[in-house]
Symmetry: C2
Subunit: 127 residues, 2 copies
């Protein structure tokens, strides 16, 4: 794993939640696990843009932060299931609030985001 060089800020609630929620796919992982998609391969299918590797890494971090638990079934081929801990479940309403705000302002958000992204002239075929 990567060795942090800059100590995290842990001053206020926002710092703290940031520490456990940052990571490109973490929120979605929590969401899908909550929806019942518990096996790694399932999660991967739900989040095809992420590589298998990152999902594993982020799941491990979520586990370390006690938001999910990993249950291993001693069968062959191996079977693993993730589920939310009680602690992790308390995050669901918060994530729901985030998603709801995003959904409510979907059009506007898409608009301003794309405006930013396209602000700098398109480069392409750089080689």
């Amino acid at each position: 794993m990567y060795e942090r060089k800059i100590q995290p800020n842990l001053n206020c609630g926002l710092d703290l939640i940031g520490e456990v929620l940052y990571g490109k796919w973490k929120i979605r992982l929590l969401w899908f696990i909550n929806e019942g998609h518990q096996r790694p391969s399932e999660l991967q299918r739900k989040i095809p843009d992420a590589s298998r590797r990152v999902l594993n890494i982020q799941l491990k971090e979520l586990e370390g932060h006690e938001l999910v638990v990993r249950k291993i079934y001693p069968v062959v081929p191996p079977k693993v299931e993730y589920s939310l801990t009680e602690f992790g479940k308390t995050l669901i309403p918060v994530i729901a609030a985030l998603g709801q705000w995003g959904d409510e302002h979907e059009d506007r958000l898409r608009d301003v985001i794309l405006k930013q992204v396209n602000a700098t002239p398109y480069l392409e075929s750089h080689q």
Copy 2:
């Protein structure tokens, strides 16, 4: 500015809100601006761990996403004030929910975060 090479995902509300809220200091900027700390130098004092530069950059992005507006007073020395747009204000309850969850679980969070951080043996004095 940095030229994105990977297109952002804009599929669901969570993707969208992620795009505008990611950035180490953005949430806190929005929060403090909402609290009435509107001038850049004030924001810097409230967030001493961030460099002046990053705050400027992230404020600019927030402005580009139409969450804040920047008002310039033509005086010397220059005076600038940021404030939330109506759109930005709609985010405040969401941020409050994040902060509240963090505050409620403060002790436990600090605990699991530090456990993770210190999991890998302390390196230090590497040179």
